[in-house]
Amino acid sequence: MAAGSISEKKFAECAIHLLEKSAHQKDHWTGEKSSSGEVYLQKRCTIPCQLPMPTTRERTLSDSQNIKEPVEDLDEAVVQDNVSTSTSMVTFVYHVVYNASYAVPVLYFNAYKPDGQLLSLEEVWAIVPQHYQDRLREERWTFITQQEHPILGRPFYQLHPCHTSTLMSQIPDTPGSNYLISWMSAVGPVLRLEMSMRYGEII
């Protein structure tokens, strides 16, 4: 294996190790298997995110607005002015898939508004923390693009893998360290994917 890359076998080993650690600290990573037997890691989470534009765009609901009849009796047992419902929430779906041609793992993700609308690339960029935006612009060690998911066949965003091995060859390979954990700790925060410090503990 070239420096900074990883074999598929090693990827699977690291993935199993990561899943053990995830379960140990009640994180939400799961191992998924496609119908054709490919294995990938998945994590989903919903977090509050301020999007640049209002999450509810101008909608043409004229068709359905005119529902006149009362649909239920008055209900006073509801929290009024529920401030928290106005929080914009974004549901992230992260997939870690092995890419044989680059011989590195690839982070695929989608981010949805509460109504299931996919965030546009511009909106995705807007939720990348500012200092990562700056770093990505300067160092160009990765960038976000949209691809068909290699296993699911639906459009997913990905952190492009072309510089992953360069990045990983700069991270010292200490005994007991896990390639996937090191890599995800480095690139995850770009996309609000936080890896707890406890993933670094040797168990």
Partner: protein, 694 residues
């Protein structure tokens, strides 16, 4: 303090794209026109940080027959009604739908089933209409709740769990909770917490409650609470209180409720922010067959009403292909050329005169650069020899219509098939030529054709001259120069090609002679002073097909030439568009290969005037030349004649073979025996008969 009404935080629906994908698939492949209720599943969790609303998630897995909620999340049983029409969606009886699910809950309570399976208390209803043509989805959630005859009341202010329990008790509670959940395949959202006098904390199923009631123990009703508010419980408590009241009111007047909230940080559970409520129960008895049922979700305007989401951007294949094309180009910008202005290229409307080998290949290459408006002009039809060389045609285009389909239209259609996001148009049009006299009866038609060509040139930003003959390039060259459009020209010989851009003069009123300041850099010719296709010629375009042998009429070129020349023509256009000076980008005329070392001031490099290729030597030259003041196409005299004389002027040119040469002074020049070699570079001879591309 006084009692006050217990108010619950409502659930907010959270969907992901996978849910809509699966719903669309099911509508197409499983449900069809079937509108009967379908089983789906949502889930909720109790670990959100403060500030988050109570959320009910529905994802791709919502349709799984053996649904399993994600780790530490709780199942919500769902009923999906997918209507076939928007009217049905609007008009169906919402009260009745809500009551349908309300009855399910009520039956599970009265039958006792919910005692052993309390997750049956957690139900949702989803009404949808999927417009799969537009990828518009109308939807409305309800989280049905059964209400008591009088609202539940709080006896005292909610108490934080850490005020009620010591940290060691909380730790034991966490252990007891984990122990309880480990006996169930899915996490249970409803349970009881038992506190014994000797400080043992236990969690057990609701159905075992009789073991603890009336003994020296304290029983709290616990539920996993998705709410993060300090003073209110979340929605799932409502039906739990209905169940509790149904079974134990009035023997129990007040109950304690643990709103169990469990945040995980670095693998450690924190439940200290959970709250304990003391609730005054109320009667669930009802004269109707169902207690009052509520629960429709408010929409984004905080009104009881449906929502609509437009998912065409992520689901419509046409939109997907458009964004994929754009992203591919953006990739080039991110990775290699941060200054690339893709917008500038995408919005350039291109007019292709000629839909032969050059036209087809130029169009494909423009698609690659993201150009979205492409119009073909050609008056020919697809013949049997075309498809192998002309990359937009297939055999069927020759046979579908007797004599073959219109080239322009077939090319436009093929382009749309390749990329539906393109605005492609084919115009079947003849281009009048100098020296090809127009018969009396055809003048009106020719006038119309000229007018149409003028309109087409006006409505585009760049024009490609990819026509068969030299003289057919004359009219568009004149109109293009008069309208100051970008004009790209490509022509093929047998194994030579010429690709060039026409100079775009700054102002027709100023003299053609170079402006003094711009002469300072003698190695460069500003774009505004560059010549056109006809500038190097000292004979006016005439009827070149008349005196030729068959070979000359139908010049054959090496098949690869068209690909090379087409690609160069498109890349040259893109280089112009990316140069800070645009069409005024100077062309380098420095000797030898010096210009190959010069600094680029455009992200894409040099913007040559001409590219002349010699395939026999696999060699290319980049000559540049100034506009010729006696040019039969772009000189001031001709442009002025066209602008002032309009069609009358053009008709004279078409009808009188020597008119152009007389007008521009070429006739005079020939008489003065000027050596034509002055205007040519060595290899130029090879181009003298290379006007044909078909």
């Amino acid at each position: 303090m006084a009692e006050f009404q217990l108010q619950f935080a409502p659930l907010s629906s959270i969907l992901d794209g996978g849910f809509w994908h699966k719903l669309s698939n099911n509508k197409l492949n499983v449900y069809g026109l079937d509108e009967s209720p379908k089983t789906i599943h949502g889930f909720y969790c109790n670990g959100d940080p403060p500030g988050m609303p109570c959320r009910m998630n529905l994802e791709y897995i919502a349709f799984d027959v053996d649904f399993k909620p994600p780790l530490r999340c709780f199942d919500c049983h769902g009923t999906l009604i997918n209507t076939n029409t928007i009217d049905k969606f609007k008009d169906c009886d919402k009260k009745e739908l809500l009551a349908m699910v309300g009855k399910k809950i009520w039956q599970s309570i009265t039958s006792g089933e919910a005692l052993s399976k309390p997750d049956l208390l957690s139900q949702l209803l989803l009404l949808t209409y999927a417009d799969l043509k537009k990828y518009h989805y109308y939807y409305w959630f309800a989280f049905p709740c059964l209400c008591p005859s009088e609202d539940f009341r709080l006896v005292r202010s909610p108490q934080k769990l850490h005020e009620r329990l010591t940290s060691s008790q909380m730790e034991r509670l966490i252990t007891a909770y984990d122990e309880f959940q480990s006996h169930h395949s899915n996490h249970q959202g409803y349970f009881i917490v038992v506190e014994t006098l000797d400080d043992v904390l236990k969690i057990d199923s609701v159905q075992n409650i009789s073991e603890y009631l009336n003994k020296n123990t304290k029983v709290l009703f616990g539920f996993s609470d998705p709410c993060t508010l300090e003073g209110n419980p979340g929605w799932p408590l409502r039906n739990y209180l209905a169940l509790i009241s149904y079974y134990w009111y009035p023997s129990l007047q007040e109950v304690e409720v643990l709103c169990f909230r469990c945040r995980i940080k670095d693998g450690n559970c924190d439940i200290s922010h959970s709250i304990v409520l003391t609730v005054k129960l109320s009667s669930m008895t009802t004269e109707a067959d169902l207690p009052k049922c509520v629960g429709w979700e408010k929409n984004e305007r905080q009104k009881l009403g449906p929502r609509m989401v437009n998912l065409s951007a992520s689901m419509d294949p046409v939109k997907l292909s458009e964004s994929a094309v754009d992203l591919n180009l953006k990739l080039m910008r991110w990775r290699l050329l941060p200054d690339l202005d893709l917008e500038r290229i995408t919005r350039t409307r291109c007019l292709l005169l000629g839909a032969g080998t050059l036209g087809c290949n130029v169009a494909r290459c423009l698609l690659g650069w993201g150009v979205r408006t492409i119009t073909f002009v050609d008056n020919g039809s697809v013949s049997y020899s075309n498809p192998v060389r002309q990359s937009l045609f297939v055999f069927e285009d020759c046979t579908k219509v007797p004599g073959g389909r219109s080239k322009a239209e077939a090319a436009a259609e093929a382009l749309t098939k390749i990329f539906p996001g393109v605005k492609a148009r084919g115009v079947n049009l003849s281009i009048a030529m100098p020296g090809h006299s127009v018969p009396e009866g055809s003048v009106e038609q020719t006038k119309k054709d000229v007018q149409q060509l003028e309109e087409l040139i006006d409505s585009h930003d760049a024009m490609f001259l990819l026509l068969d003959t030299r003289e057919s390039r004359w009219l568009p060259t004149v109109i293009g120069a008069a309208r100051k459009k970008i004009v790209m020209c490509a022509a093929l010989g047998f194994d030579t090609f010429l690709v060039m851009r026409h100079g775009v003069k700054k102002d027709m009123e100023t003299d053609d002679s170079p402006v003094k300041g711009q002469m300072l850099d003698y190695r460069c010719i500003p774009g505004s002073q560059l010549g056109c296709y006809f500038c190097n010629d000292v004979v006016a375009p005439g009827d070149s097909t008349r005196d030729r042998t068959l070979d000359q009429q139908c010049t054959v070129s090496r098949p690869g030439m068209s690909y090379i020349a087409s690609a160069q023509a498109v890349e040259l256009l893109v280089s112009i568009l990316q140069h800070p000076a645009g069409t005024d980008a100077p062309a380098d005329i420095s000797v030898g290969e010096e210009h190959l070392k010069a600094d680029h001031c455009s992200p894409l490099g040099l913007v040559p005037h001409q590219i002349r290729g010699f395939l026999s030597r696999f060699h290319q030259l980049l000559p540049a030349s100034r506009a010729f003041d006696k040019c039969t196409a772009c000189s001031r005299t001709v442009i002025k004649g066209y602008l002032e004389g309009g069609f009358g002027f053009l008709l004279q040119v078409f009808n009188e073979p020597t008119y152009l040469e007389d007008l521009t002074g070429l006739t005079q020049m020939h008489q003065d025996t000027i050596d034509a070699e002055v205007w040519d570079i060595d290899e130029d001879e090879e181009f003298s008969s290379m006007d044909t591309s078909s």
